[in-house]
Symmetry: C2
Subunit: 269 residues, 2 copies
């Protein structure tokens, strides 16, 4: 394929558009996401081979992509029929997320999930986050979901984009392998009730120390509030058990991904 050297090439314009979440929300390119960097693209390719998502194309800059792993990946995908577009360094940098890009990105279409497709049968142990704002936290929590063998992630109300580059990096690829569904809090509450889920929440003001509680049962949801506000009253009311992680210092809360990690490993026991 000819080297793309124009930043206004339609494919490049599409990628630039996809990098802004607004475009995706506006359904101009429904369901497509951009994944950048050697490890994330490698994980996306592996997930595609396992049927977890569909690849649309790969864009790479021969001037930047020096890794044998990356070059072999482009060759194999190109041979398998995936459109792989070589571009100049300047064009790649015009759509890259970071300085010093590794020179490879993929456009992919993750499987769409909604609450209706999830039930105790295929989603026995989920995490639900209310309006998380930090993409690094969302990615890190997906990495922990993978580690403990949980089922997937629900993003409630106005959540950050789980395909934000920081989320993709923090998840170490896990986000391609697990169901991620968006829903309103009310729809989630209804769904959890109908599904017979036990909902576990955390709060610094909860009466029960999490160390006193050991009777976790599935199907279960770990429900965590946003970084700034934690769980509100209405949200806590949906929980069957509200648990408190002890706080011995000046701070009144843990980092969201750390709280999720401590709780998920506790539920695993």
């Amino acid at each position: 394929m000819d080297l793309i050297s124009s930043r206004t090439n339609p494919k490049i314009k599409q990628v630039r558009l996809l990098r802004g979440r607004t475009a995706r929300q506006a359904q101009k390119t429904p369901g497509l996401v951009v994944v950048e960097g050697l490890h994330p693209v490698g994980e996306a390719v592996a997930a595609a081979q396992a049927g977890k998502l569909a690849l649309d194309s790969i864009i790479y800059a021969p001037d930047l992509l020096k890794s044998d792993f990356g070059l072999a990946l482009v060759r194999a995908q190109s041979a398998a029929g995936l459109p792989c577009y070589p571009v100049t360094r300047q064009v790649f940098e015009s759509v890259a997320d970071k300085e010093n890009p590794q020179g490879i990105l993929a456009v992919a279409r993750p499987k769409p999930y909604s609450l209706e497709t999830l039930s105790p049968g295929n989603f026995p142990w989920g995490v639900a986050l209310v309006a998380p704002q930090d993409p690094g936290n969302v990615g890190t929590i997906l990495r922990t979901i993978d580690a403990v063998g949980a089922s997937g992630l629900l993003l409630l109300d106005s959540s950050v984009d789980p395909y934000h580059p920081s989320a993709v990096r923090a998840s170490m690829g896990a986000l391609f392998w697990y169901p991620i569904a968006r829903a309103s809090f009310d729809d989630f509450a209804h769904w959890a009730l109908l599904g017979g889920y036990t909902v576990y929440g955390t709060s610094a003001r909860a009466a029960t120390d999490y160390r006193e509680f050991t009777a976790y049962q599935q199907p279960s949801i770990l429900l965590l509030g946003s970084e700034r506000q934690g769980l509100g009253e209405e949200q806590s009311a949906v929980c069957h058990h509200m648990l408190r992680l002890p706080m011995h210092g000046r701070g009144t809360s843990l980092n969201l991904a750390v709280a999720a990690g401590v709780m998920l490993y506790t539920m695993l026991e």
Copy 2:
């Protein structure tokens, strides 16, 4: 005080220099760090009042600083005799870390700590990180150290700067309140042995599942390897107990701050 409108003003040049770690390492301005943003500056002021660090000065942009909390803080510190320099928006933005800065930063001198000043008496339960590279992880671990009531942090070998803006933000101020000491791994190993510390390490290949181990004893150190490499053989050899966090998914490791969080809450039990 007159509004500083020149980016080459000596105070402004000092702040710009301090923002690069190289300057601090080169001891041109030994021990000084820059702390930016309303919450971090508020925490630095509170820590200074508690004798945990010394404040050198505050720099603020009246055009940007609109928060009542921030303005009251500048008034109080100025009245107490701390040099507080008003600067133009342009000058502030020339030294600010982020876009849309809040218009306030402090230059501070944290207490210097070294291994020699730490012992089981004042440091019964520490975390030691080998060459951490992500400042967000270092800050998040300090936030968890505060939460569990641990003693402080040791940064071994070539660690990222704990006063990097991302570390300051992630720590939620905790880094001003706890001893942070740098050391070589060899000096740490010697110090831990002399102090009679029990050293706990983690590894995905360790024989003991961390859930099987409950006999944590102080004085203790939780020793964690770098994000990329974990603990090497030589480093594991220093540990009295190597523990494994179960990994049930595709990934082979947890986020460093999550691993620290799970272990610290386990050691608290």
